[in-house]
């Protein structure tokens, strides 16, 4: 079992309105088989034992699906490995003596709650603006009544994999939520069930995104690089197309 020691430079901020600062810690004798968050657990155990407040970081399922975790590690959202959430990153991706700078996802629309924890409720409000199919419980026809071409179903699934972690926002030079939003728009508009609301959906979701204070897309595609689920920027193209057509036809 290999053990390493790394230097952590971590953003500490007590609350949303407090001033933040960087603080240095050492994570000593960390097993390289440990996950990144387990390394933080070890550091935090040490801090608590000394009566200091541990580093706050969001996490829950620790298997890369709930979308709770996430931080910027040395300038990369979710860290250096592709298509992984922070909880799936392991310490074997680092070497003994490395310095790791840990920052929260930064965006005006995602205010910092504490240290590395940010408030992502803005993403919920984007979904509330139209990221659903309005079907009342009990009113659905038989599941096989409307066949869906396999290609469309696969594309819908592909887009629907978004875990809402906001890494796309963190990685975007403009702090835009376009990838997350476009994934939802494309998921629903790829399916026949999503058609009736598709025009209004895209218009409403985009206006909500603007209202929340996210930036716009400048086609830098860093969201795709950061996305732990590998969601493609082709969905942003799809959103753009739908937006254009819907805006022209709107009143």
């Amino acid at each position: 079992m290999k053990k390493i020691t790394v230097k952590l430079v971590v953003w500490r901020q007590n609350g949303p309105d407090e001033k933040g600062f960087f603080k240095t810690y050492f994570a000593e004798n960390i097993d390289t088989d440990a996950s990144f968050l387990e390394m933080l657990d070890v550091v935090n155990e040490g801090l608590v034992k000394n009566g200091s407040e541990p580093i706050a970081f969001a996490h829950d399922c620790r298997e890369g699906i709930c979308g709770t975790c996430g931080a910027v590690v040395n300038g990369e959202a979710h860290g250096p490995r592709e298509k992984l959430t922070l909880c799936q990153l392991h310490m074997r991706s680092f070497s003994n003596g490395d310095t790791i700078v840990l920052e929260p996802f930064r965006a005006r629309a995602l205010p910092i709650v504490k240290d590395l924890v940010v408030d992502r409720s803005a993403l919920d409000r984007i979904v509330q603006a139209g990221g659903y199919i309005s079907v009342r419980t009990g009113s659905a026809p038989d599941a096989n009544a409307i066949p869906v071409p396999k290609k469309d179903a696969d594309q819908a699934f592909d887009a629907a994999q978004c875990i809402g972690c906001a890494a796309c926002v963190a990685a975007c030079p403009n702090a835009s939520a376009m990838l997350m939003m476009s994934a939802k728009v494309s998921h629903l508009s790829s399916l026949p069930q999503g058609q009736p609301e598709s025009k209004q959906r895209v218009l409403d979701m985009v206006s909500q995104m603007v209202k929340e204070g996210f930036g716009g897309c400048s086609n830098e595609y860093q969201c795709e690089v950061a996305c732990p689920k590998g969601i493609s920027v082709k969905y942003i193209a799809q959103l753009n197309r739908q937006y254009l057509l819907s805006a022209i036809k709107s009143e």
């Binding site: 088989d33 387990e38 298997e63 992502r120 919920d124 659903y132 629907a160 809402g164």
Partner: protein, 646 residues
């Protein structure tokens, strides 16, 4: 419990409707009273939890017109651990024309639960299963499809029919996002008031009825009360009592336990499902376990070295020095024996000292023979993503050396006791999903958890809640009511007490200690002596916790240490009840092997004469023994039989 005590048992009324099994739910739906549409908006319903059950119930009830207030401790209602379910969701659609039916799904579930579930509930679940799929497809859940555009099915967990609907390995995620989007729709319509990052700290009962909750705002620490006409707990399972489990880090027993302390009965708490194919523990710092699909056992062969202490690399161990123990003991099922047998036997070989890997708590799952027989490409096509996941976590290449696996706690069948209407013994307190005990008996079948969560939330509670509200007389209450004030004060005091201890050990150290004890004494295999020891030791750990835990920070801001401490404090109380339940259930059933109840060949021995029942425990104070209530289970349609896999 001896036969002698039987007369003292209080029996519980499950309120199962009269009539033939297949007519019960239909008749009951007709017989139940309805709330006038104009009156529905006068009722306020609190839903705690936003997993499959909570999100679907919130959306459905608000569509009906009730004022719904929904609470979750996550930062958004899309994070609950339902999201991590991989395999699929069962439904008796019989789209494959392979002989499935509602009755067959019912039968399989009852049998799978080792005859410890209620027939009527399970039949209702099977009936509703078909509506769930319709509902989810209409919401845009992207289930796998065939080239003709119709839904695809697969056979799952050893079922003989293909009735499992799936969305790659992310079915739970897609179903939860479907329910979440329905919930978001209702929030947008102003029909649901959503409280994220609010943890339920207590249940408030007034005049014997559940009338509200006390919450803690996790961001600000604010303690607040909320009134309601009914409270729905959809708060999931308690697998984290074992510290290491496949549950999310935040999954906890707090909401259910607080309700229990206010009088709700906890049923069959010792029923825990252990999943055989998880990635083994690799060190003391380990925070959680990762499950890999059981389908791996279709082509992988499970083995350990024959000799104790054989430290050679697996490739250097010749075949005649390997023990393919599942194939040896169960020649007809081999590596495909059910979850409980696979798990238990892995434990046995490790207990014998034949475990492998650095911790000696693992067994090999070897694909060498399948790769030789079918080719690497065929194996990659079947398990590519699982192999990648395994390699990403363990840094070992399963194409070249055998995987290492070990069982892990995965799901808890026990939960708060509910009647047929999903109402607990406290009026107005409903419990849905994994948080209740009702449908899975002593062992849950694969792809049934998602089905139950959604059935409860979309299609059961919408009727039974109405029936309750239409029949009950509710006084108007205010937050100034003494019960709210005193509950808030209790919560405040508990928090202050935790913060003032300033001891020497961390919350995780206590949690780990408890978890190891529970895994050891109340895990896959139990005996009277071990359980008694656990019952003796848990109060000691609890006492030490309350004297020596270190909780940093304050209550007026975001404080994850405090959140964790509050949850672990409840696990420390709950664990004792769990062990008592295990101690009283002197039979082996489902995944629960009681060493003093086995056949001469060492197989599980169920005791139908004494234990065809549900144990429901009533809280009698922290250091007092809870009181046992019994619900007798009646099998009118299916004759309990013995499972055999030899």
């Amino acid at each position: 419990m001896s036969q002698h005590d039987v007369s003292k048992r209080k029996t519980l009324d499950s309120k199962i409707p009269e009539g033939a099994l297949s007519e019960k739910w239909t008749q009951h739906k007709f017989n139940m009273k309805l709330v006038n549409p104009a009156n529905k908006r006068k009722y306020k319903v609190i839903v705690v939890g936003t997993g499959l059950a909570g999100a679907s119930a919130s959306a459905t009830l608000s569509e009906l017109g009730y004022q719904v207030h929904t609470f979750c401790f996550h930062d958004t209602p899309r994070r609950a651990h339902s999201i991590a379910a991989q395999g699929g969701i069962n439904a008796a659609k019989n789209y494959q024309n392979d002989g499935d039916s509602i009755y067959r799904l019912f039968y399989d579930t009852i049998k799978g639960g080792d005859f410890r579930a209620r027939e009527a509930n399970v039949h209702r679940l099977a009936e509703i299963s078909v509506n769930i799929i319709d509902q989810c497809v209409a919401q845009g859940v992207p289930f796998a499809r065939e080239y003709g555009g119709l839904l695809d099915n697969r056979s799952f967990g050893g079922a003989q029919v293909s009735r499992t609907f799936y969305a790659k390995g992310q079915t739970g995620q897609q179903l939860l996002l479907g329910a979440y989007s329905a919930l978001m729709k209702q929030v947008n319509a102003g029909a649901v008031t959503m409280y994220t990052e609010h943890e339920m700290m207590d249940l408030v009962i007034i005049d014997g009825k559940a009338r509200g909750i006390v919450t803690r705002n996790l961001k600000t620490g604010e303690i607040a009360s909320h009134t309601a006409d009914a409270v729905l707990l959809c708060t999931g399972g308690y697998g984290n009592v074992f510290y290491l489990s496949t549950n999310a880090m935040g999954s906890n027993v707090t909401a259910a336990w607080k309700a229990h302390k206010r009088g709700a009965y906890f049923a069959n708490p010792c029923y825990t499902q252990i999943h055989p194919t998880c990635i083994p523990v690799h060190g003391d710092y380990q925070s959680k376990l990762t499950l890999m699909s059981e389908s791996l056992r279709n082509d992988g062969r499970v083995w350990v070295p024959k000799k104790v202490g054989d430290d050679r690399h697996p490739s250097e161990i010749p075949d005649d020095e390997r023990d393919y123990y599942l194939e040896r003991k169960y020649p007809s099922f081999g590596n495909l024996v059910p979850r409980d047998l696979a798990s238990r036997n892995a434990k046995y070989v490790c207990d014998e000292g034949r475990g492998v890997g650095p911790t000696k708590l693992a067994v090999y799952l070897d694909f060498r023979d399948s790769i030789n027989r079918l080719g690497k490409d065929a194996i990659e096509a079947r398990y590519g993503n699982l192999f990648d996941m395994y390699q990403s976590i363990t840094d070992s290449n399963p194409y070249e050396e055998p995987m290492m696996i070990y069982p892990a706690v995965h799901y808890t069948m026990g939960g708060l006791w509910v009647d047929y209407n999903l109402m607990s013994n406290i009026e107005g307190l409903f419990v849905l999903g994994e948080a209740n005990f009702s449908d899975h008996g002593a062992n849950r079948l694969g792809a049934s958890a998602l089905m139950q969560g959604l059935a409860d939330g979309y299609f059961v509670i919408s009727y039974t809640l109405g029936n309750y509200l239409a029949n009950v007389d509710l006084n108007s209450i205010s937050l100034e009511n003494e019960s709210f004030l005193s509950a808030e004060k209790d919560v405040q005091e508990r928090i202050e007490r935790l913060l003032s201890i300033r001891g020497t050990k961390t919350v995780d150290e206590f949690h780990r200690e408890l978890g190891l004890l529970m895994w050891d004494k109340c895990g896959m295999s139990r005996n009277e002596e071990g359980l008694k020891e656990a019952i003796r030791r848990i109060p000691e750990i609890r006492k030490s916790f309350w004297n020596d835990v270190m909780v940093t920070g304050s209550n007026n801001s975001f404080n994850q240490t405090l959140e964790k401490a509050l949850r672990v404090a409840d696990f420390l109380e709950f664990a004792e009840t769990m062990c008592r339940d295990a101690l009283e259930r002197k039979e082996s059933c489902g995944g629960h092997f009681r060493e003093d109840s086995q056949t001469p060949e060492g197989e599980a021995l169920r005791n139908d004469t004494e234990f065809t029942n549900v144990f429901a425990w009533e809280f009698k104070g922290i250091d007092n023994k809870p009181e046992l209530h019994i619900e007798e289970l009646e099998f009118e349609n299916v004759q309990p039989s013995v499972r055999s896999y030899k």
